[in-house]
Amino acid sequence: MVLFCSFFNSTIGRKVLMAVTGLVLVLFVMGHMLGNLQIFLGAEVINAYAYKLHHVLPTPALWGIRLFLLLCVGVHVWMAVLLTLASRRARPAGYAVKRVVQATYAARTMRMSGIILLAFIFFHLAHFTTRSVPGMEYNDERVLSPNEVSLVKHGQAVMKDGEKVTTFNVHDMMVAGFENGLVSAFYILATGLLCLHLVHGVSSMFQTLGLRNATWLPRLNYIARFYGWAVFLGFAIIPIAVLTGVLEKDPTGGETQAIETSATH
């Protein structure tokens, strides 16, 4: 183990840790985006998706995944801090004149975008996961009503032991969250910075792991740009849809339509 420690104490080893944890987070972010986009398929779809996320796996496994993701964020940030401090130490006196030759804006601002993203992650978890941001405690009936709706499948409420299965009203929580202009603005800004972070990060990951050559560099740069923009548009379209009134609250959780449909039969 002592031998392997030398790897994680080296600049390259630390970068490899950043690349690997970055890969986990890059893949998570795409899954998260695709999950979120289900809001456009109706309240019943996104609510059922949220229900599945919480019930398909046993609770300890869910917590395992959550802690693993947080660990990845932690290691990514920790390594970034160590490397940044080492870089600062390596150049105590700067230049009077410094010109950038070819470094992209995204590459030069990774630390800035990273710090703001970290702040966003804290806010985002407090906002939608623990729901404990003052004035936005969606677990409280007085803030979000109703906060429990029926789980709807194929247009009908899912029944279990003769009772309707209820689930948290994720659809309305998202709409309520984004109806706040400041929250939406921060959300769009953060996803914009995420785009910037990914445009450099996604191809940089392959460079750090040494998994690229001259032929693949331009392709990876293209993939990184595409990935970054796809993530930005996929996330930012939701607050935009809420602010423009395309998405509205659905207090029935998509059930009304289901009852009407079944009544006509």
Binding site: L3, S10, I12, S87, A96, V97
Partner: protein
């Protein structure tokens, strides 16, 4: 040409250092940047002042001694050009030119524009060689090497160790230099035998000298007078990681 020069002057490593401004007239557009500095030195000596200290040797772009940050870019504005091969025609008449030494803690200023690049020597000493008995080396052409491999090794071997990569890097990282030296040897059959040991030793020495880490921004590649590419750094990352993994299971000697 008439020039206003803003040049870093520092008496010794302990001196704080400061910029001093000089006016220089009658500079030929065809003179090199170093010849222009020679003129300045003559002028300073004639005025009874101390001449400017700057590194130079071959003046034909192959030794890697010249090392000046000119208007914020190591080796100045021209691509793949050392300071000695940079000509004054690339500057405007009456222009103010700022000249600074490389800025990195591991490469401290000795005097004026001269920096101590001995950390590079120590990186080379730790693994930039192949082990062969003197006098018993086989003929170079006795070992067949594919053209592509030879070309890659030659591209890496083009590094002259000037240190512009460190100077341009926002992290003062010596990854491009180390990567060039490692790739040069690791790609060839003569050097492949000691690949893992070499890679581990050279990276450890590099880190130990206090250089920063690589953030893949590519400024080193952009200023390198020999056009060493980031591909070399990708290979160093790959070779180092695989050497560490092998070392974990069976210590590399």
């Amino acid at each position: 040409m008439k020039l206003n020069l803003r040049i870093w002057r520092q008496k010794s490593p302990l001196d704080k250092g400061r910029f001093e401004e000089y006016a220089l007239d009658n500079v030929s557009e065809d003179s090199s940047f170093l010849e222009m500095l020679d003129l300045l030195c003559e002028q300073l000596v004639a005025e009874g002042k101390e001449a400017l200290a700057f590194d130079h040797d071959c003046r034909e772009g192959i030794c890697g001694m010249c090392a000046l940050t000119i208007n914020g870019i190591p080796h100045g504005p021209e691509k793949q050009t050392t300071t000695c091969q940079l000509h004054m025609r690339h500057f405007k008449d009456g222009e103010t030119i700022t000249v600074e030494p490389w800025r990195a803690k591991p490469l401290p200023v000795i005097k004026d524009l001269v920096v101590d690049r001995s950390p590079f020597d120590r990186i080379i000493q730790s693994g930039g060689f192949i082990s062969a008995r003197t006098g018993s080396a086989v003929d170079a052409n006795a070992v067949p090497i594919p053209k592509q491999t030879a070309d890659t090794a030659m591209d890496a071997a083009a590094c002259i160790g000037c240190g512009a990569c460190v100077a341009a890097c926002p992290n003062a990282s010596a990854m491009l230099f180390t990567a060039a030296k490692v790739s040069h040897m690791n790609n060839l059959p003569q050097g492949e035998v000691e690949k893992d040991r070499r890679t581990l030793a050279m990276v450890t020495t590099m880190d130990g000298e206090g250089f920063g880490g690589c953030t893949n921004v590519g400024e080193c590649e952009a200023v390198c007078p020999k056009g060493i590419s980031l591909d070399m750094i990708a290979q160093l990352n790959r070779d180092y990681t695989s050497a560490q993994v092998k070392n974990f299971f069976e210590p590399v000697s």
